[in-house]
Symmetry: C2
């Protein structure tokens, strides 16, 4: 049996059904399905359905991620709000928090929202695109279970703590920078392990602190920060803003998505929305961004480079291709989803339209 090509809409409806079977309200299920199916559509299978839906539903059924959380505003002062996610799904709490930040920014130019007591929030681009859709610059940070040493260290303390920033343009597509502070997202090593592939030697170290190309050894050891001590410093910063500042867990105290099914994760997130019209007359920022993007794109290229991509462009184009042709899922992943469908009593992926 070869890898299957699945329509994005089929993936999406499968996620919705699975999450609703795990007691998630329809509207929330749709949000999480958007996150997982869009990640696959963009080629980010480290944040896609195969990797995340089984563990999400497992935690939901165990109650360690709450299907129907009581998300509440803990503190509100001026430009700052702190949200308690009540151990709900990160996508649900994150979307609520970014909406809160956007509302603040509409009123006073900027909104900063910290989130505690949350769970894995999927790919970060989703939240900054929410800001961009409202004409705002958006920032989304989250901490993550520890798998990266501090600089000079040998064992994990930080997560791969990602940084996402979205910037609206006028005629041009928005800039969407979404990156982990590790060399690669840990999910890519998980996917390599699932596919039985080896990994490059600069991605991770084993438990003895030695570089390794073995995905399993890397997952038992630690991933490395991108760009050496500078990437490590950024990972630290993300944990301070997402975890220490919000009242969430940080560093070693964050519960792993996979290994500790009995406890809630207590992840923290940090969201910013910034209204460009507080800085410049309405429309000026977007016009200046168009100029900026066009100038960057037209710079002289390295000999082996066909095109200069702005952050997010590759993923947007991949999503368009996926909308036309569907998403290719590894055979092993589809088998896992079939098993999940049986467990949850929902229609299997292959039985859906557009497969």
């Amino acid at each position: 049996m070869s890898d299957l090509r699945i329509a994005v809409s089929a993936l999406h409806s499968f996620c919705c059904d699975a999450l609703q079977a795990a007691n998630v309200p329809p509207e929330d299920a749709r949000l999480v399905a958007d996150s997982l199916a869009q990640a696959d559509a963009r080629g980010l299978n480290s944040h896609g359905v195969v990797r995340l839906l089984p563990i999400y539903t497992q935690r939901l059924r165990a109650g360690t991620t709450r299907a129907r959380p009581r998300i509440c505003i803990e503190r509100q002062r001026g430009a700052v709000t702190v949200v308690d996610g009540d151990a709900g799904m990160g996508q649900v709490t994150g979307t609520f928090a970014m909406r809160t930040a956007i509302d603040l920014a509409r009123g006073i130019g900027a909104g900063i929202v910290g989130v505690r007591n949350s769970s894995h929030f999927g790919f970060g681009a989703m939240y900054v695109e929410q800001a961009v859709a409202a004409g705002m610059i958006g920032v989304a940070l989250t901490n993550a279970p520890s798998n990266m040493p501090p600089w000079g260290g040998r064992t994990p303390y930080f997560g791969t703590n990602p940084i996402a920033v979205g910037i609206p343009c006028g005629q041009e597509r928005p800039i969407i920078l979404d990156m982990s502070t590790s060399v690669v997202a840990r999910g890519k090593i998980v996917m390599a392990q699932k596919k039985g592939e080896s990994i490059p030697p600069d991605w991770a170290i084993d438990v003895d602190g030695q570089p390794t190309t073995d995905a399993a050894a890397a997952l038992a050891g630690a991933v490395l920060p991108f760009g050496g001590y500078k990437g490590s410093g950024l990972a630290l910063l993300v944990d301070v803003l997402s975890g220490v500042l919000t009242g969430a867990a940080f560093g070693l105290h964050i519960i792993n998505l996979y290994d500790e099914g009995e406890r809630t994760q207590n992840l923290g997130h940090f969201f910013v929305a910034l209204d460009p019209s507080s800085f410049l007359p309405a429309g000026d920022f977007e016009a200046r961004m168009d100029q900026f993007v066009r100038e960057v794109r037209c710079q002289p290229r390295m000999p082996d480079v066909d095109r200069i991509y702005l952050p997010g462009e590759i993923e947007f184009e991949q999503a368009e291709e996926s909308a036309r042709s569907g998403v290719v899922l590894p055979d092993a992943g589809v088998t896992e989803l079939d098993q999940l469908a049986i467990e949850l009593g929902i229609r299997p992926l292959q039985a859906r339209a557009g497969v």
Copy 2:
């Protein structure tokens, strides 16, 4: 003649005198002297007296940096302020802008201040320490004259656009992350050239896009971002926030500090101050930071590592050492400062107390 050891206080008074001779008011001269002498004291000679004082005074005397600018608030809405620096010294405008951000944060939890029409602002740690001294988390960004290609490009578009973040702790020293988005600050390549030293091959490319170890060829070519496309994405982000958003110049449009003495630089900066007591009960954040710092410091180390440093620790300790023993300046640099003293009619460095 060997390299000279100079007292930090002598360096500081020399800067004050030089800047006042160039018509800078005493209080502003002291701020800029703080920046230059502190940079040298911390071992950041890329932002120190030898590299910057001659060009600063040259521009001041030419009027392309204004000794007595009329700094003004262009826009103010809620949490956001935009400052026009009137082509004054970056340190003067930057300190004003961060003070404005701190005042905003005192009132409404967060303050965000964009600056246009500014000049080189020295090392970024200075501003975030200003926030930390007020009990705030501080962020300071600036764009810079182009010397780094966009990812995939061969010729400069972005500057080495640095990121500085300061985080207050309780008992522990604050965390001060201050880094360029290039592999190294361009100033380090300038210093290598002044000392006649070669540079590592991963720092820069020559005009043909080839890696080079020759400092002069690197300065004629382009420096490279740290961490590949991720560092490049951060450099882009810093230019958007500092330049595009504030109404300052960006990318290729920024005037170089050294090469174009007839025009003002029109640099942009971006400052954030964030009050931790908007997120957590007073004192909680600082106590949690102490725990975080102590945990990071005690993680198991790589075999060849004696100690895990938090961002800023090396520089703080170097500054303490310099306060005791003075700063070593290269002979060629001292000669340049002697020449400057003659031009400006001020007392030479070696004639000052503590040399």
